[in-house]
C-alpha cells in the first residue's frame, strides 16, 4: 500500500527530513544524506565567505534533494519574512522552514512573532513549514493561517533530550489536519521511532545525525527508525494494560 508523505502538494517516499548543520565535514554530510534516504534537506543563508560556499554547492547538486531554506537565527517576524524572501530568490523555492526564536540560549520559538511571520509569508505565496513549540494551540493557529505543516519541537534544538512531552505531540496530531513533523530534540533512533508512533507524519533531524560519532551510520539508524515507527503507528499498538494478559491459553493445561 502506498504510504507516501504529501507535503506542500508534493509527494515524498521518505519521512525523514535532514538538517545539514553540525557535520564534521562536507564529506561526512554527503554520506549521511545518502544513507538517510532523505528527499528534503535544510540549508541556511549567511554572509558570503568565498572560501566555504563552493564545496557545499557541489554537495547539494550531487545529492539531488529538495532544498528547504530556513530562517535560523531570526528573532522577529520582520527579519524572518525578509530572510524567507532572500531564500526564495537564492534557492528558487517558495518553501521555507520558518524559525523565529525568542532567545539564543534556549532557541525556543517566539509564538507571537512566529504566527505573524507565518501569516505574512502564506499571504505572499510561500509554502510555510514553521518550527514551533509543542503547544497544540499554537500549532492550530499556524495551521489556521495556512501553513503547509506544523513542526513542533520534541525538546530544544541540539539538546538531544528526545520528546519531553509526548502527550502534547499526540494532541497536536489531533489538533491539525496538515502534516506534523517533529523538529528538534531527537537524540537517537528510538526518539525518532517514538515520534512516528505518536502519529507524526515525518521527523526533521540535524544534530543527532551530524554530531553523532558516525553520522553515516546514525543516518541509517534514523532511516530505519522512522520506517519502523511509521509502520508501528499504522499497524496500531495494543492498549496498555495494568495487569498481564496471557498470550498462551490456560485451557487444556495438564495436571502435573
Amino acid at each position: 500500500m502506498d504510504d507516501s508523505l504529501v507535503l506542500g502538494g508534493e509527494t515524498f517516499t521518505s519521512r525523514l527530513l535532514l538538517g545539514t548543520g553540525g557535520a564534521p565535514s562536507l564529506e561526512a554530510l554527503e554520506r549521511a544524506i545518502v544513507a538517510s534516504g532523505t528527499q528534503v534537506v535544510t540549508v541556511a543563508l549567511r554572509r558570503v565567505e568565498a572560501s566555504t560556499t563552493g564545496a557545499l554547492q557541489s554537495v547539494l547538486d550531487r545529492c539531488q534533494v529538495k532544498l528547504l531554506p530556513n530562517t535560523a537565527g531570526c528573532m522577529t517576524a520582520r527579519e524572518a519574512v525578509t530572510t524567507a524572501k532572500l531564500a526564495r530568490d537564492a534557492f528558487e523555492t517558495d518553501w521555507v522552514k520558518l524559525e523565529v526564536i525568542g532567545d539564543d540560549r534556549t532557541l525556543l520559538p517566539d509564538p507571537v512573532e512566529l504566527v505573524e511571520a507565518a501569516e505574512r509569508l502564506v499571504t505572499d505565496g510561500f509554502t510555510v513549514l514553521p518550527y514551533t513549540n509543542d503547544d497544540p494551540i499554537t500549532a492550530r493557529r499556524l495551521a489556521d493561517v495556512g501553513c503547509a505543516a506544523v513542526m513542533p519541537l520534541g525538546s530544544p534544538i541540539g539538546s538531544g533530550l528526545g520528546i519531553r512531552n509526548p502527550h502534547n505531540i499526540a494532541l497536536i496530531r489531533e489538533a491539525v489536519t496538515v502534516p506534523v513533523i517533529l523538529d528538534a530534540g531527537i537524540g537517537t533512533a528510538s526518539d525518532a521511532a517514538l515520534a512516528m508512533e505518536l502519529g507524526c507524519d515525518a521527523v526533521l533531524i540535524a544534530s543527532a545525525v551530524t554530531r553523532a560519532r558516525d553520522p553515516e551510520l546514525m543516518a541509517t539508524a534514523m532511516r530505519d527508525a522512522v520506517a519502523a515507527g511509521r509502520a508501528a503507528y499504522r499497524a496500531g499498538r495494543i492498549p496498555r494494560r495494568w495487569h498481564a494478559e496471557a498470550s498462551t491459553q490456560f485451557e487444556g493445561m495438564p495436571s502435573l
Partner: protein, 66 residues
C-alpha cells in the same frame, strides 16, 4: 563611494551595480541572494540596480544549517 557590505565599510567605484558587487565577491553566483537597505534585490535586477552612497548591502550564500 562608501557603502557597507556584510557589515564592513567598503569603497566602490561610482556606478557600481549590485551585479558588479556580487561578481567581485562570489565565484559561484548560484543560490546567492542580495539585500540592499533591508530589501531583497531579485537576481533579475542585480545588473540594473546601481549602488548608492551609504548603501547597506548583504550578500548571502548557502551554508549548512538547520
Amino acid at each position: 563611494m562608501k557603502i557597507t557590505v556584510n557589515g564592513s565599510a567598503t569603497e566602490v567605484a561610482a556606478g557600481t551595480s549590485v551585479g558588479d558587487l556580487v561578481r567581485q565577491r562570489v565565484d559561484d553566483r548560484r543560490r546567492v541572494a542580495v539585500a540592499r537597505n533591508g530589501e531583497v534585490v531579485p537576481r533579475a535586477e542585480w545588473d540594473s540596480t546601481p549602488l548608492e552612497e551609504a548603501d547597506t548591502v548583504e550578500v548571502l550564500a548557502p551554508v549548512a544549517g538547520g
